[in-house]
């Protein structure tokens, strides 16, 4: 029997949006004891669908114009606010992508779970507390008695998401809506949370509507899959059907774009060493005037070398110090000790004036394509800024910029436009062009493809590999994504808590990881589906 039946749901976008409907003619079902994954790229309408079911979408901005949403036979588009509030929590509940912001930072987590009971039941304070502790035990939170009194910021990301799940499930609703609940989590945590959701769902026999962009996650957890594109469902069916034999070309394309965990064969680079670090250390904070200040060692004694024409990957979870290494090398932060050798010259402690001439040798592409370009300056202005700094005339710089636009696969007219007129992938191409305009020897890509949709990600990865070859760059590729790393890196270094735990040729490391942490990391990567799966 279906818990949720959405029939021909169409939700209008406000006037002036880029398309008239957020979702159009969406029909789907969630059966009892089943997980439905809605998968799609950004802007596909998958979140709008979820929020519409919860009645949380802002009705003024997102107006349902036709269709029904039947929760256990009751059309939630047809009921009043009081009834809707009653259904929320009791019959359906929701967990969100960012557990940090989804929890109220100034209330104790236990009280936040307890609030659910306070709203919907007449239990006494102590009864509620017992129920909360039970719920917390249920999601396998350690020492729930103590954790009850914690604030969200005192917990880890995984623990916070467990709190959210405990909260959502205290009243044993029949439907759980999970909106990208693991996207913000590290890969090892993600694996645990996915397992937890699946376990609980099995045990309680509820229906789950799981929103994700990641086919790996889909493969891991889904019973049924619905693929969305531009507000419409293009394909739905059982997980075996959709992943095994996708019918819609879009689905096929998406699945094909998922990078494989198996590194391809690569030639061993033999170019000269362009970048080297020796005992690179970065600590934050310092001893205070009174007593001991808090000191965080972000990077501990990192040694690395990158040759020209070679890509070195640094892989690690958040807080591993991988980005700090990049920023130290760029001298965007000052290393605490150790050496950074560019072409054999140590720049670790040069003053800004002396450093300047080295800047052009080493360039970086950042993660967030939306913040990497000054929104007030045209693409052309952004690209020529560096070369002009180093004495190129404006005309020469513009000519070079035009050339580079073609290299990164954009039209030279793009130079006159502003960043907001481009998509994320295009902006990342522009950033690459900006870096290349400096004619660097070394290119650092700091999570450069992590914010991109999977189809775009593949293209940008190709571009990066292409320019590495074309300009004989030494490339330092920083990522948390083992699949991506597998595809582009010649060698990889795995970092954990500021330390390099393992390094070697990519294929060797993936095939035969030595360190426990590396093994855990590889094992946790969701949905071990290669393109062949």
């Amino acid at each position: 029997m279906s818990i949720l039946e959405v029939t021909n749901l169409t939700v209008k976008l406000p006037d002036g949006a880029d398309r008239p409907f957020a979702i159009e003619d969406v029909t789907l079902k969630v059966e009892k004891g089943q997980i439905l994954c809605i998968v799609g790229e950004s802007g596909s309408g998958k979140s709008v669908t979820a929020f519409s079911v919860m009645g949380l979408a802002d009705r003024r901005a997102l107006t349902p114009v036709s269709g029904t949403i039947k929760l256990d036979g009751e059309d939630i588009l047809d009921i009043d606010d009081a009834r809707l509030r009653k259904l929320r929590g009791e019959k359906m509940s929701m967990i969100f992508q960012e557990p940090m912001t989804a929890l109220n930072p100034v209330l104790r987590v236990g009280d936040q779970i307890s609030e659910m009971l306070e709203i919907h039941t007449d239990l006494t304070r102590s009864q509620r507390k017992t129920r909360v502790i039970e719920a917390m035990t249920d999601v396998r939170l350690p020492d729930p008695e103590k954790m009850y009194r914690s604030y969200p910021h005192q917990l880890s990301g995984g623990q916070r998401q467990r709190i959210m799940i405990a909260m959502a499930l205290t009243l044993e609703p029949q439907l759980l809506i999970a909106d990208e609940p693991t996207t913000a989590l590290d890969v090892t945590t993600q694996a645990q949370i996915l397992k937890l959701i699946k376990d609980i769902q099995r045990r309680k026999g509820m229906g789950v509507m799981f929103i994700t962009h990641d086919f790996g996650v889909v493969a891991e957890i889904a019973d049924h899959v619905a693929v969305m594109k531009h507000g419409r469902i293009v394909e739905q069916g059982s997980v075996a059907e959709v992943l095994g034999a996708p019918k819609d070309p879009y689905t096929q394309k998406l699945i094909a774009a998922v990078p494989s965990m198996i590194p391809p064969e690569r030639e061993v680079a033999t170019g000269q060493i362009a970048l080297e670090t020796d005992d690179l250390v970065k600590t934050y904070g310092q001893a205070g005037l009174l007593g001991q200040g808090r000191v965080v060692k972000a990077v501990r004694e990192v040694d690395l070398t990158v040759r020209r024409g070679e890509t070195l990957g640094i892989v690690g979870e958040s807080g591993s110090g991988k980005s700090t290494v990049a920023r130290c090398i760029m001298r965007l932060v000052d290393p605490t000790s150790g050496e950074v050798l560019i072409n054999g010259e140590n720049i670790a402690s040069l003053r800004e004036g002396q450093l300047r001439s080295h800047r052009r040798d080493i360039q970086i592409v950042f993660q967030d394509p939306y913040r990497s370009l000054n929104p007030r300056r045209t693409v052309g202005q952004s690209i020529v800024e560096g070369p002009v700094n180093f004495g190129l005339s404006m005309n020469e710089a513009k000519a070079r910029a035009a050339e580079l636009m073609q290299v990164v696969g954009l039209s030279p007219d793009a130079l006159e436009r502003f960043p907001h007129q481009f998509s994320g992938g295009q902006r990342q191409r522009i950033c690459i062009a900006r870096a290349l305009a400096m004619e660097p020897m070394i290119l650092i890509a700091d999570e450069a493809v992590s914010a991109l949709d999977v189809s775009v990600q593949a293209q940008v990865l190709d571009l990066l590999d292409d320019v590495r070859k074309r300009f004989d760059l030494a490339m330092l590729f920083i990522t948390h994504d083992l699949r991506v790393a597998a595809q582009i890196c010649d060698r990889i270094m795995v970092m954990n808590k500021g330390e390099v735990v393992e390094s070697g040729f990519t294929s060797t490391v993936y095939a035969n990881p030595q360190h426990d942490y590396t093994r855990a990391l590889l094992a946790a990567a969701p949905g071990q589906i290669g393109p062949a799966a």
Partner: protein, 314 residues
């Protein structure tokens, strides 16, 4: 925490020294000479010189400054040139009315402004919102003294329900006479505060209402009223409390005017009279005192953040 407080207190020392030096130089380098004010019409140049000598004003500025700082260190703010009373005693005599005025004003303002601001935020863009905002902006638009006159005219002269002026201590004369006398000045002074706080509350609550955890609360089925009181207000409190802290400086300025209009013998009048008469020790002492109070209150406010927001730790 203790370490933080000690550090904060220590770090105010250079600021206070700076303020002291600034005030001192400003007073001494400017025209105006208390000796000739004292000497009056009959004084000869010699008389003025003798008075100046007597007051220690004829020494080099550096000597005067060092002498002042030396006595400051011993907790002595000097002696009024005119009344001959120690500045600390004068402050002691005058601090109660000002303090009580400030306290009642802030209390009143918070009690009125926070609900108003929250209401406006909750109904952002509605007629209620517009009305509340217009009212609070209006509070910024009328000079305090005009408002004071208008309120006196209405409530004291025409309706005769409240007294024109004066201050009664709640400690010696009872809470009734105190409230009877403090109501008008407090209301007058609080208008600008209500504006400030209501505005900040509105902005802050609007921002908080956009947060994910508000959505979470809705997803739990919580009612909008409870969402406001339980989730929004506490999270919105930090900027509101901050603005109260900033407002203390404004309040001190407003107190000068309000004390004049309502004839309240407080610190504001004291410092104003001292400036007009060039009673250097009082001006120096009081500005330093006000700076200290301001810094102290802001320290308290910073510390209060730890109560309002568990994420903040020093």
């Amino acid at each position: 925490m203790t370490r933080y407080i000690i550090m904060r207190v220590l770090s105010t020392i250079p600021v206070m020294v700076l303020v002291a030096l600034f005030v001192f130089l400003m007073l001494r380098l400017a025209p105006g000479d208390p000796a000739s004010v004292i000497a009056g019409d009959y004084a000869t140049a010699e008389d003025v010189a003798r008075i100046r000598e007597q007051l220690g004003l004829s020494d080099p500025i550096v000597v005067q400054f060092l002498r002042w700082v030396a006595s400051l260190v011993q907790g002595d703010l000097g002696t009024s040139i005119f009344s001959g009373k120690p500045v600390t005693e004068l402050i002691g005599q005058r601090i109660e009315p000002t303090l009580m005025l400030a306290l009642t004003t802030i209390t009143f303002a918070v009690v009125v402004a926070v609900p108003l601001g929250t209401l406006a935020a909750f109904r952002a863009g509605s007629l209620v919102d517009r009305f509340v905002m217009l009212f609070s902006v209006g509070g910024f638009s009328v000079p305090v003294f005009v408002l004071g006159y208008i309120l006196i005219y209405i409530f004291s002269m025409t309706l005769g329900v409240l007294p024109v002026q004066g201050y009664k201590s709640p400690f010696t004369e009872g809470i009734g006479p105190f409230l009877y006398h403090i109501t008008l000045p407090s209301v007058t002074l609080s208008v600008i505060f209500i504006a400030l706080i209501a505005r900040m509350t509105r902005a802050s609550v609007i921002e908080v209402l956009e947060e994910d955890y508000i959505r979470t609360a809705r997803a739990k089925g919580q009612s909008e009223m409870k969402i406001l009181t339980r989730h929004a207000l506490r999270n919105a409190a930090v900027p509101v409390v901050t603005v109260i802290g900033i407002g203390i400086a404004l309040l001190i300025g407003g107190v000068v005017v309000t004390e004049s209009v309502f004839n309240i013998p407080g610190l504001g009048r004291l410092v104003l009279d001292a400036v007009l008469a060039r009673d250097y020790p009082i001006i120096q002492g009081l500005i330093l005192f006000f700076s200290f109070v301001y810094i102290f209150i802001n320290l308290i406010i910073d510390l209060s953040y730890t109560l309002l927001d568990p994420r903040i730790r020093y």
